[in-house]
């Protein structure tokens, strides 16, 4: 299973600004001062080895969209945030010759940051394409129709060329979608959200975003522990610090890196990927949160197998 992150930002797209770019250039020039480079390859090696991720790159600014490519002949996508525009462009450029023009979309919930990419998803305009939008909410289609309606968008939903179906999923059932085994679980979030467990070829992926954990009961018996059990990768909403998540941002529907690590430890998950980054966070602070989270994982491990912790960025690919 190949996981591609097309959008990893929470709430609102957060483009890299000029001042942030200048900060990266400044850091790079400072580290390169006194050096000379014979060719671009040497510059690239310097960038890769001497600059930190936050200096040489960016976590990106697109909102939630993750592709789970299980190698079947249909596409499987999680959420339709602004990141899906780039997935659609990649598809239109012919990058998926072996796949049918069938797009299976698993929706966490219809909040704006999770649907806003759809009007810019080019494959939706092409007759002959099939788009199946799955989710735990029975009224998902309203959200999609509404964002296409005037005066918010010039092309009405009814003008889309693709055949679009909405399928309501039941958390009590297991589904076969695009060849993968799919289960979902209701999460604590305004208007509810759903987390997904996707299994294929002996590998398992958890996609759990926009989910607040009222952590009175995050011990071994907490239902999410079972849902996350032994997952190869857990993509987890770690938008806030624990202090914020339980105080000024209580009931805002998001979670923290601390809860992420504790749940993954209890569930014996193998890898944790921090996701839904705060649009107010710059690259350096997201990198610091990652470093802190890795440190907390060590402190909290208590004899367990190590949990690999990473932070999602737009363009990240993970092979499971």
């Amino acid at each position: 299973m190949l996981i591609r992150f097309w959008g990893t930002r929470g709430s609102l797209p957060a483009p890299l600004g000029g001042a942030a770019l200048q900060g990266k250039l400044r850091a790079a020039l400072r580290k390169a001062s006194g050096r000379s480079f014979t060719d671009d390859a040497e510059i690239d090696r310097f960038i890769a080895s001497e600059l930190t991720f936050a200096e040489r790159s960016t976590f990106g600014g697109n909102t939630s969209c993750v592709e789970a490519d299980i190698g079947s002949d249909e596409h499987l996508i999680l959420d339709l945030g602004s990141g899906v525009r780039e997935f659609g462009n990649r598809f239109m450029s012919g990058a998926y010759p072996g796949k049918k023009k069938v797009f299976n979309i698993l929706m966490s919930h219809p909040h704006w940051d999770h649907i806003m990419g759809f009007p810019f998803f080019v494959p939706a305009y092409v007759p002959g394409h099939t788009i199946r939008i799955y989710g735990g909410h029975s009224t998902l289609d309203n959200a999609f129709r509404r964002q296409h309606a005037e005066p918010s968008f010039p092309v009405d939903y009814s003008q889309l060329g693709a055949s679009i179906e909405f399928v309501t999923l039941d958390p009590a059932k297991t589904y076969d979608i695009a060849g993968a085994k799919v289960r979902l679980m209701r999460q604590h979030h305004t208007g509810d959200s759903y987390g997904y467990r996707i299994e294929h070829g002996g590998r398992s992926l958890i996609y759990s975003t926009d989910s607040e954990h009222k952590f009175e009961e995050t011990g071994d018996t907490y239902p999410f522990v079972d849902f996350f059990r032994n997952a190869d990768l857990v993509i987890f909403d770690a938008m806030y610090s624990l202090a914020d998540a339980v105080s000024i941002r209580e009931d805002w529907g998001h979670s923290s890196n601390i809860i992420a690590v504790e749940l993954c430890h209890h569930a014996a998950a193998k890898r944790l990927c921090l996701f839904h980054h705060d649009p107010n966070s710059d690259d350096r602070s997201i990198a610091e949160v990652l470093q802190d989270t890795r440190r907390f994982e060590e402190l909290a491990r208590d004899g367990r197998a190590p949990l690999d912790v990473l932070s999602a960025y737009d363009g990240l690919e993970i092979e499971l």
Partner: protein
């Protein structure tokens, strides 16, 4: 994976000092919380939790502190912690709980700050 928390309690001046020991986690937090919240229930109460015997704190323990801080605020009281070991201090920093509850290096420092009359300074 929790051990017992044996929490002793003493009165220093106007302040109540709770001294839990061991790991403060999902299993050991409830009894600590049951002692902490009533202490903060009276108006103007001053409570210091002495962490010198605590080896680890999980999110449940931190949450109990959050509830305590809220209760203190509501009743015009004060809650502080002191004498965190290195691990616990790091967890406070990473979770940002050092911005939720005042942290003091040692018990005397905490008492001096919260209840100066009680320690006779």
């Amino acid at each position: 994976m929790g051990g017992m928390v044996a929490t002793s309690e003493q009165k220093v001046g106007n302040a109540s000092v709770l001294s839990p020991t061991g790991r403060v986690d999902v299993e050991t937090t409830p009894p600590l919380q049951e002692r902490l919240l009533p202490l903060l229930g009276t108006s103007g109460a001053v409570v210091v939790i002495d962490f010198s015997g605590v080896t680890y704190i999980s999110s449940s323990g931190l949450r109990a502190l959050m509830l305590g801080a809220k209760e203190a605020k509501a009743k015009g009281g004060k809650l502080a912690v002191c004498a965190l070991n290195e691990t616990v201090a790091e967890i406070f920093r990473i979770s940002r709980f050092n911005q939720v509850v005042p942290v003091y290096p040692d018990l005397r420092g905490a008492l001096t700050a919260l209840d100066p009359a009680g320690v006779g300074v």
